[in-house]
C-alpha cells in the first residue's frame, strides 16, 4: 500500500492500532475505535491526517446532535427573514442549504479524514440514520434536487466511549478496534514523546505508583494516560525527587479526581 499509516512522532500507537487503520482504509469501511478515556482515541484521527497529509474534518457529537446536522441544514428562518425584508436571491433555495461536516467531507475536492467523535453521545437511533450515507458515501438534498456524492471516499474514524450500545446494523459495517490500556513499556514511550528528557528514576517511580493506583479495586475513577502525563509534568516542574513520590504522593490531585478515591489512597496507601 502506498498510503499506509505508520504512526507519527507525536503519536505512539500499538501495531494492532496501526493495522486497524490500514485495514479500514483497504476495505473502505469506517473504523470504530473504543477504549478507556484517555487512551488517545481522538488524537488518532489527527495523527492519521498528519501522517497521510490530509485535511481533518471533526464532527463532534453531542446529545442533541441529529444525523441530518451532519448532512446539511436548510436555514428556513434566514430565508423567511430575507423574504420579509425583500433581500435578493430568496428564490434560490441553494443559498440557504448549508452542508454539515459529513457533507463537507463528501464535497471536498481532495480526500480527507473525517472524525466522528463520541458517537455514543447522540440519540440511540443516530448511527442507524447514517447507515446509508456512510455505505454509499452520498446523500440527496430534497430541496434543491441535488445529490452530494463523495468525490474521494473519506477515511472515516468513529470513536465511542461505550456509553451506549451501538446498533448491530451499524456495527456490522465497521472495522472495530478496542484500544487496550497501554502497558508500562508503551506508556513509557508515550510519556517520553511528551517529555523527552524526563529523569528516568522519576518516571519509573511515578509510573509504578500510577499502575499501583489503577490496581486498587475500590478506586472509582481509574487515572488515565493523560493524567499520568500531567502528573509527570507537575512533578518535574515542582522539582520533586523520585524517592519522595511514593511516600508523599505530591500533586496527587492531578491523578485522582474524586474525594472518595483520595480517601482510599490516603488510608490504604500504595503497595
Amino acid at each position: 500500500m502506498a498510503n499506509e499509516f505508520q504512526g507519527t512522532k507525536d503519536y505512539v500507537a500499538s501495531n494492532e492500532l496501526l493495522d486497524s487503520v490500514n485495514i479500514a482504509m483497504a476495505l473502505e469501511k469506517p473504523l470504530l475505535i473504543k477504549g478507556e478515556p484517555g487512551t488517545g482515541k481522538t488524537q488518532l484521527a489527527q495523527a492519521v491526517a498528519d501522517n497521510l497529509g490530509m485535511r481533518l474534518i471533526v464532527w463532534n457529537i453531542k446529545s442533541t446532535t441529529k444525523a441530518q446536522d451532519g448532512l446539511y441544514i436548510y436555514d428556513t428562518i434566514q430565508r423567511l427573514y430575507d423574504g420579509q425584508f425583500g433581500e435578493s436571491g430568496v428564490d434560490d433555495i441553494a443559498k440557504y442549504i448549508k452542508l454539515g461536516k459529513l457533507g463537507e467531507a463528501f464535497d471536498s475536492e481532495e480526500q480527507v479524514v473525517l472524525l466522528i467523535d463520541e458517537i455514543d453521545k447522540a440519540d440511540l437511533e443516530f448511527p442507524n440514520d447514517l447507515l446509508w450515507e456512510l455505505d454509499r458515501m452520498e446523500f440527496y438534498i430534497g430541496e434543491t434536487h441535488r445529490t452530494v456524492k463523495a468525490k474521494h471516499r473519506p477515511i472515516v474514524i468513529i470513536t465511542s466511549n461505550a456509553e451506549k450500545e451501538l446498533p448491530d446494523a451499524f456495527l456490522r459495517r465497521c472495522i472495530f478496534h478496542y484500544i487496550d490500556f497501554p502497558g508500562p513499556e508503551l506508556m513509557e514511550e508515550i510519556v517520553r514523546v511528551h517529555y523527552p528528557d524526563v529523569e528516568a528514576n522519576l518516571l519509573k517511580e511515578a509510573m509504578d505508583v500510577f499502575y499501583a493506583i489503577r490496581e486498587i479495586r475500590d478506586i472509582r475513577k481509574k487515572p488515565s494516560t493523560s493524567e499520568l502525563i500531567d502528573w509527570v509534568n507537575a512533578l518535574q516542574i515542582g522539582g520533586i525527587s523520585a524517592d519522595r513520590i511514593r511516600a508523599e504522593l505530591p500533586f496527587v490531585g492531578v491523578v485522582i479526581k474524586k474525594d472518595e478515591d483520595l480517601e482510599i489512597i490516603r488510608h490504604g496507601g500504595i503497595h
Binding site: 483497504a26 451506549k164 456490522r172 472495522i175 503497595h271
Partner: protein, 401 residues
C-alpha cells in the same frame, strides 16, 4: 479450516454475519494478513468482532480452531480452575516478599523453565497448592500462580508480581464479558436503559414543538402551522427495595455500587429507596442498618407510591422457609398478621412492574433453594450482572401489565 473457525465462533456465541465473513475473505484475498497467524488473529477480530465484550469468546473460538498451529503449551481449563485462588493473594504477597529477599541473586534460565513446564503439564493430574513440585498456587516450583518463585511461568490467575517470564493461557478480555458481575459504571449504563425506553411511553403530545412549528410555518409560506410533540421528560419512577440481611454482607460493595449508580442516574422523575431484612413484612426501613423505628409502614408505601413506580427488589431470596411462610416468621419484629410470602404477593399486586435482582441466583432450576424458587415464581428474577440488569430493565419497561 476457516469454515471450522466460523462454526466455532457461532458455537461460542459470537454472532458473525455473512457480510462480515465476506469482508474477512476480501481482506484475506487482498493479502492484508500477510502469512502470519498473529496478524490474522487481529485482522479477523477487527472485522468480525464489534464489542470488547465478545473478545473473550473470540479468543476461545480462535484457540479452539487454531490450537494445533499454536505452541504446544496449552493450559487446560481444569488446570486453570485449580489455580484460581485469588483470595489467597494477600497471603501470597506476604510470602513472596519474604521469599524474594532471600532469592535475589538466583539466575534463571528461561528456556529451561519453559521446557520443564511443558513436561510437567503432561504429567500433572490433580490440584496442588503450596507444594514444591507440581503446578499449583502458592508453591515454590517455577510454575503456577501466586508462587514465591522468581522467574517462573505463571499460569492464569492474578499477577502476583511481574517476574514471570510469560503469561500462558491468560484470558485477557475475560473481564469484559457481559455475563460477569458488574461495576459501578456498568450499573449506570444499565440504568440508562430506563430512560431510553421512556421516550416510547404512551403519553399525549402536549408540548409545543417550536422548531418544527417554525419550520412548517416557513415551508407553508408564512401561514402558521402548529406542531406538537411528546414531552421529553422522563416519567419513570423507581422504587428500590434492598435486602440488607446478614447473608447479603458479602455483596455490600456491589449493592453500594448499585445504589450509587441509581443516585447518579438523576434522570428519573422520582427515586425512592427502602431496605428490608431478609424478607418484606409490615415495615420497610429507611436506612440499611434496619433499626426498628426508623421505618415506614409497608402499607404507607403502597398508599403513597402509586402503582406506576417500577420496583426493583435486590436480595438473595435466601429466607428460611418459616421466614417466608409463617405469619410469625419475622424474627426481628411483628409480621403484621401476614406471612412474608403474602406481603410479597401484596407488592406484586400493587405494582405493575416488579423485578427481582439476585446476586447469587442459582443457574436454572434449583428446587433445593426453596425460598428462591418460590420468589422466582412470583417475580421475574435476574442475576445481578450486566446482562441480568439489562434484561431486568427491559422487563421493567415492557408495555402492558
Amino acid at each position: 479450516m476457516f469454515i471450522k473457525f466460523f462454526d466455532s465462533l457461532k458455537k461460542n456465541g459470537v454472532n458473525v454475519s455473512l457480510g462480515e465473513w465476506l469482508d474477512l475473505q476480501k481482506a484475506l484475498d487482498s493479502g492484508l494478513c500477510g502469512g502470519s497467524l498473529t496478524r490474522f488473529y487481529y485482522v479477523a477480530r477487527m472485522i468480525l468482532i464489534k464489542s470488547e465484550t465478545d473478545y473473550d469468546k473470540y479468543d476461545a473460538a480462535f484457540e479452539e480452531t487454531f490450537k494445533a498451529v499454536q505452541h504446544e503449551t496449552e493450559v487446560g481449563a481444569q488446570m486453570l480452575r485449580w489455580l484460581d485462588k485469588s483470595d489467597m493473594m494477600e497471603l501470597a504477597h506476604e510470602e513472596a516478599r519474604h521469599h524474594l529477599n532471600q532469592t535475589e541473586d538466583i539466575m534463571i534460565d528461561k528456556e529451561d523453565v519453559e521446557e520443564k513446564f511443558r513436561q510437567r503439564l503432561k504429567d500433572q493430574d490433580s490440584e496442588h497448592n503450596g507444594g514444591s513440585f507440581w503446578i499449583g498456587t502458592m508453591g515454590k516450583t517455577s510454575f503456577g500462580n501466586m508462587g514465591g518463585n522468581v522467574g517462573g511461568v505463571r499460569v492464569g490467575g492474578q499477577t502476583g508480581y511481574q517476574s514471570a517470564f510469560s503469561v500462558i493461557g491468560v484470558r485477557k478480555y475475560r473481564d469484559f464479558r457481559d455475563d460477569r458481575v458488574m461495576t459501578n459504571r456498568q450499573f449506570q449504563l444499565a440504568f440508562r436503559r430506563l430512560r431510553q425506553f421512556s421516550s416510547r411511553l404512551d403519553i399525549p403530545e402536549s408540548e409545543l414543538d417550536i422548531d418544527r412549528t417554525v419550520d412548517k410555518t416557513c415551508q407553508n409560506g408564512g401561514y402558521l402551522q402548529i406542531q406538537m410533540r411528546k414531552p421529553r421528560k422522563n416519567s419513570v419512577k423507581l422504587l428500590l427495595l434492598m435486602d440488607s440481611g446478614g447473608t447479603m454482607i458479602p455483596y455490600s460493595a456491589l449493592l453500594n455500587d448499585l445504589f450509587q449508580a441509581v443516585n447518579k442516574s438523576n434522570h428519573y422523575k422520582d427515586v425512592k429507596c427502602y431496605y428490608f431484612h431478609n424478607c418484606i413484612y409490615d415495615h420497610v426501613y429507611k436506612t440499611p442498618e434496619c433499626e426498628n423505628g426508623d421505618w415506614v409502614e409497608t402499607e404507607w408505601m403502597f398508599r403513597n407510591l402509586d402503582s406506576d413506580y417500577k420496583v426493583l427488589i435486590i436480595g438473595d431470596a435466601a429466607m428460611a422457609p418459616e421466614e417466608l411462610y409463617s405469619d410469625t416468621g419475622n424474627y426481628r419484629g411483628s409480621n403484621g398478621g401476614l406471612s412474608g410470602y403474602e406481603w410479597l404477593k401484596l407488592v406484586k399486586r400493587h405494582y405493575k412492574r416488579v423485578v427481582w435482582l439476585n446476586p447469587k441466583m442459582a443457574p436454572g432450576h434449583a428446587p433445593w433453594r426453596e425460598a428462591e424458587t418460590a420468589v422466582k415464581e412470583m417475580f421475574p428474577m435476574y442475576k445481578l450482572t450486566v446482562d441480568g440488569l439489562n434484561r431486568a430493565m427491559t422487563q421493567l419497561m415492557a408495555p402492558g401489565r
